[in-house]
């Protein structure tokens, strides 16, 4: 079972909640990965894809990890395999794709935890430093800054959070209130 399919809710009241980090990958790249995997019939060796894309293997693995935690692909025995949800996503127009990806993003433990963290605060918002501190507390083995960037990027994409660079404040998006 992957993160997005886990039924366990995040617990904002626990001292250090169990959350898993976000892969620092752009969601456009995840969608591109699905397209290329579809060109390969829905299954391909990961090393062959890396060779075809002339991409850094390390970066490709991060993108695959992102697709995996969103329940779009699985990776049995070094292969990349399209899951039904991944196939469904690539056949949809832009905004329908976005809806499904957003639904999956909303299930991730870090997103749920940070959403709860923001909701519990006055004005449903926190400064960048407060968010970085919370990320450092909940993910002590991760570098907070890349997690912050990923949180802002995925939060904006899924329209759960907004971030104002002018104010340096992360907020619950109006649509998500």
């Amino acid at each position: 079972m992957t993160e997005a399919s886990s039924p366990e809710p995040a617990d904002p009241s626990s001292a250090v909640p169990f959350v898993t980090p976000l892969p620092p990958a752009g969601l456009s790249k995840v969608l591109g990965l699905l397209e290329i995997l579809d060109d390969h019939g829905g299954r391909e060796d990961i090393y062959k894809l890396a060779r075809e894309l002339r991409d850094s293997f390390g970066e490709l693995i991060i993108i695959i990890k992102a697709a995996e935690i969103l329940d779009l692909v699985e990776t049995p025995g070094g292969d990349l395999v399209m899951l039904p949800l991944g196939k469904q996503v690539i056949e949809l127009p832009v905004n329908e794709k976005k809806k499904i990806i957003s639904r999956q993003v909303a299930k991730l433990s870090l997103i749920r935890h940070m959403t709860d963290f923001l909701r519990a605060r006055e004005g449903q918002q926190a400064t960048r430093q407060e968010v970085l501190d919370e990320l450092a507390r909940t993910l002590p083995t991760e570098r907070p800054k890349p997690q912050f960037e990923a949180l802002v990027n995925w939060g904006r994409y899924s329209e759960l959070m907004t971030f104002s660079r002018d104010e340096d404040v992360l907020r619950i998006a109006q649509k998500a209130v």
Binding site: G26, S28, L53, D55, I63, P93, V94, N95, R156
Partner: protein, 251 residues
């Protein structure tokens, strides 16, 4: 007929001597086509786009848009650039509304219209972001939203994917086809410059090959494969090979 190039040549003055960049371009492009212009670097592909949208004037011949010779900037065209051409001190929303306000819309109407096109390109949620906060793919979506927001009939794209990594580029190409096929949008015709033949075969109904010095149209190839087109298919490879062979013969 949407667009015609009639005996179009472009001649620059280089140190007091005439230098012909493009010579005797003749072609006609109908509505509802996706046309790619391909050719080696320096053959005049981007210059051709600038002649079509009126940013440049032909030295000889004329560009005819909807049966009227073009005499200035073509307001029914919009352009998407390779390097995104976003203003870094403006947010996504402000970058998109800028062109609308320049065309006379008041701020309120411009914001409403911009929001529609920001949504169309999947950028909802990023309205207040600055370009530096965006990936290359997201920046190009802003460029696309800005172009679509002026509701052009003809969309011109100058190597729009060449600054992007392969995965982002694949995704955006798919989404561009969806946008082009969207009957609710004003844009009916796309002319895209690329130097990547696979990209042209994946997207276009028609591939125009410009080559030589000065650049001339040396081939005009119809691509009749149904979409979606899979790169690993035999038909796809056959089309790519045919265009590569033509290019090799002409360069």
């Amino acid at each position: 007929m949407l667009l015609k190039l009639e005996n179009v040549s472009k001649i620059y003055d280089t140190d007091g001597r005439p230098s012909t960049i493009l010579a005797d371009l003749n072609c006609a492009i109908d509505s509802n086509q996706f046309v790619c212009i391909v050719g080696p670097s320096g053959c005049g592909k981007s210059t051709t786009l600038r002649l079509i949208n009126g940013l440049m004037v032909p030295s000889v011949g004329q560009v005819v848009f909807k049966d009227k010779p073009l005499t200035g900037i073509n307001m029914q065209c919009a352009m998407v650039f390779q390097n995104f051409a976003l203003l870094p001190w403006l947010t996504v929303m402000q970058n998109v509304t800028l062109g609308l306000e320049a065309r006379g819309l008041n701020a309120n109407d411009a914001t409403k219209k911009a929001a529609v096109y920001i949504d169309k390109v999947g950028l909802d949620g990023f309205e207040s972001a600055y370009p530096r906060e965006l990936s290359g793919g997201m920046k190009q979506r802003v460029g696309l939203a800005r172009a679509l927001a002026v509701e052009p009939e003809l969309l011109l794209m100058d190597e729009p994917f060449s600054s992007l990594d392969p995965l982002t580029s694949i995704n955006l190409r798919e989404e561009l086809l969806d946008i082009w096929a969207d009957a609710n949008l004003a844009v009916s015709t796309v002319i895209m410059v690329t130097h990547i033949i696979e990209e042209a075969v994946e997207l276009a109904d028609r591939v125009i090959l410009i080559a030589g010095r000065p650049g001339r149209i040396v081939a005009d190839i119809e691509v009749t494969m149904p979409r979606p087109r899979h790169k690993n298919s035999e038909a796809f490879t056959r089309h790519v090979d045919a265009i590569f062979s033509l290019m090799a013969e002409c360069c």
